[in-house]
Symmetry: C2
Subunit: 421 residues, 2 copies
């Protein structure tokens, strides 16, 4: 066995590693990341039992610093927490800046698999586990700017979303001054991050709402590409891809964007969309497929081909009917029918048990990313609101819109350009 | 690429495979299971894009049939659902037998990665995924025997658990006529099974309560052995192991047990134990370790050694104090101090967001398995109830006890020996 030591870039936290692992990556095809630490940190007896290296899931590590925040263009993880905070009475710009500085320090350490630095001893919940592709993403809601005296610097794009006729929104689970999105491929790593960040907020901000969701475990399917929602439907096929020429332009605010402090940032639309699964599952398969406009088995459009074949909206069946019905979800949401509007959907399914009426409290924590909500979510949802066959089977129960600043540069914290600019 | 076909033992379901995968297992060290199906089931276009084989997580498969039910002696999975049902008004022995027959058929198919057979089209939620180590385990509560006219065959071991002074039980989330434990290493596979089994119950039984939990993802840690709970503590170290000489005797009812129909079965004690994490996390690390009697970092007992070193209850520090405090959890729960009582704990952590009082609604879905609750859970809990330092930081909020019959033999359904005996 050979010991590897992770080269630590300047600006990375140097706190004690929570995982004192020695060895080489075990699984073929693993990222090859091995967290190492000099001997002596372990008791002599424990050192005798050298644990093997982290496996693939634990070893996944995403960068905290960069032009963009993590948790946007990278793949959605198996576990997610969305949590909104309101600033405490008396907390203003100064306290918010200090909080975002603490949060950024903590996020950077957590994403590196380290204990978060700070006054409090670590909870230990993530001990032994690797970073597990943890990402932490911070955003600000419309109300943040009033509470911090920064209303003049509020982006125009943070205007409230228009009401939609199918909305049944719970204000207590909507909006919020601040927002954190946490994603990880291990549930304890995700919970650890949630607790650590919540503890850093104590005295400055309190939890307004919190939702947890999930996606496929890495390795559960043959193809990592395929994602399904709780309706059993392939989801996300038409998502913009990082390889698309206009991906950056659609998803991120440009370097010379407005306001300046949002350069490299994005806007997140968050909707809690409950699925009426009892109703949905009573529909015959053919009816479900007609509602969506895609085959359930493989996601291929009803106009033919495979999942990735472009939908042929003009195609007719031998009987002369439209192959993809006029009110099919895939037609109504298609960029071609929305002036090219597109957003990057990066959602989690949720399941919070059963409601008092016996129906499952389950659906989609829809998270959509775009450079401008008025050219992303809003025109698409306006269209869906009027004519989507899927509307009968879903309820939008909560809604929020957050400005997500660009990523932190070296020595910087997320939001610094706003709060100290 | 070579096509493998799974040899199908007699009695296995022969319904259409939900995953029509061709190829060889991709990851080194994978179980090597590949689900195959003859071509032609896919559309010609889809067949052209042969997906690669299932990766390790998806390929995990556990047997439904055997002396014992699955989900007891095998490792706890990353996702779990516990769900209790009450029989509907008018449903008696005959309806219960038909339900257990349907449930057994469905469980066997689901655990093989197949669509559940039956009247209803499949929801499709698990399409593309492998069995992902799914297990489905069925049990009966005390009330089941009255409702089905089988009171005379009710095991003595199903007497209600004694009350404990630290209990704060919610009757609506306790007990139940029937119980299902679902575990899988993929969240959609677990949800799919939950929905499928719930749909099979329609008209015969309704959900009484349902709880969901989680454990580490396979591959998140270097050692698969280490499990932590949401207090950050290594948990399960002293669990009986399958290699122990008395494992079978402790966990399972013997072949000549009483009642006869419980041969190969076990008793499950289920407790929803909320952790008062805000209080716990305020304690200094040394105080937490004193409460438990083990070091947080690696689970080693405070009497010295490593995680697996037996706890030395007599050991004293240089100051003459007990190394493991008189009220330390590990001392009070130790088999040595409980007349050898031991149970197999196979729990899931849970996290259902925040309570109205702002505290996290999180803790342990404690599931303990034993041949006799009066020689397993009851004496241990009685002792803990009186003198466990951990009691200050936990609340038992729900409780149930189920008789879990032996595994289904070929052609049999779970519970048949009771219902048709």
């Amino acid at each position: 066995m050979k010991d590897h030591h992770l080269d630590r870039p300047a600006g990375e936290p140097t706190g004690p590693s929570r995982r004192r692992l020695l060895g080489t990556a075990g699984a073929a095809g693993a990222a090859g990341l091995v967290l190492g630490a000099a001997g002596g940190a372990l008791g002599a007896s424990a050192a005798a039992e050298r644990p093997p290296a982290l496996a693939t899931v634990g070893a996944g590590r995403r960068p905290f610093r960069g032009v963009h925040q993590p948790g946007i263009a990278d793949p959605a993880q198996a576990h997610g927490h969305l949590v909104a905070f309101d600033l405490a009475a008396g907390a203003g710009r100064k306290e918010a800046a200090a909080l975002l500085r603490r949060w950024s320090r903590a996020a950077e350490a957590l994403m590196a698999g380290e204990e978060p630095p700070g006054r409090l001893h670590d909870t230990g919940i993530a001990l032994d586990a690797g970073p597990s592709s943890l990402t932490v993403t911070f955003g600000m809601g419309r109300t943040f700017f009033d509470r911090t005296g920064l209303a003049a610097r509020r982006p125009a794009a943070l205007e409230p979303l228009p009401p939609f006729s199918s909305d049944a929104l719970d204000p207590g689970r909507s909006d919020g001054d601040l927002w954190i999105q946490i994603g990880a491929d291990d549930s304890l790593v995700a919970f650890h991050a949630l607790r650590a960040l919540q503890r850093e907020a104590a005295g400055t901000a309190r939890v307004r709402w919190q939702m947890s969701g999930f996606n496929r475990s890495p390795g559960a399917t043959a193809s990592p590409r395929t994602a399904r929602n709780l309706m059993g439907q392939v989801d996300g096929t038409n998502n913009p891809r990082e390889t698309d020429e206009d991906f950056e332009q659609r998803v991120f605010v440009p370097a010379d964007g407005d306001p300046e402090w949002m350069a490299g940032g994005s806007y997140a639309v968050v909707r809690r969309i409950r699925m009426l699964l009892d109703d949905w599952e009573r529909e015959p398969l053919a009816e479900q497929e007609k509602v969506i406009g895609r085959r359930k088995s493989d996601g291929a459009p009803l106009s033919g081909g495979t999942e990735t074949t472009p939908v042929d909206l003009a195609k007719r069946t031998a009987d002369g009917d439209l192959a993809v019905a006029a009110d099919a979800h895939v037609r109504v949401s298609a960029p071609e029918t929305n002036g090219g509007a597109a957003m990057l959907r990066r959602s989690f399914s949720y399941h919070d048990g059963f409601r008092d009426d016996g129906a499952p409290d389950a659906g989609l924590l829809f998270v959509a990313w775009q450079a401008d909500p008025l050219r992303g979510f809003v025109p698409v949802q306006r269209k869906l609101d009027r004519g989507d066959a899927l509307s009968r089977f879903i309820r939008h129960e909560a809604s929020a819109l957050f400005a997500v600043p660009g990523g932190a540069g070296e020595g910087e914290y997320v939001g610094q350009r706003l709060l100290e600019g």
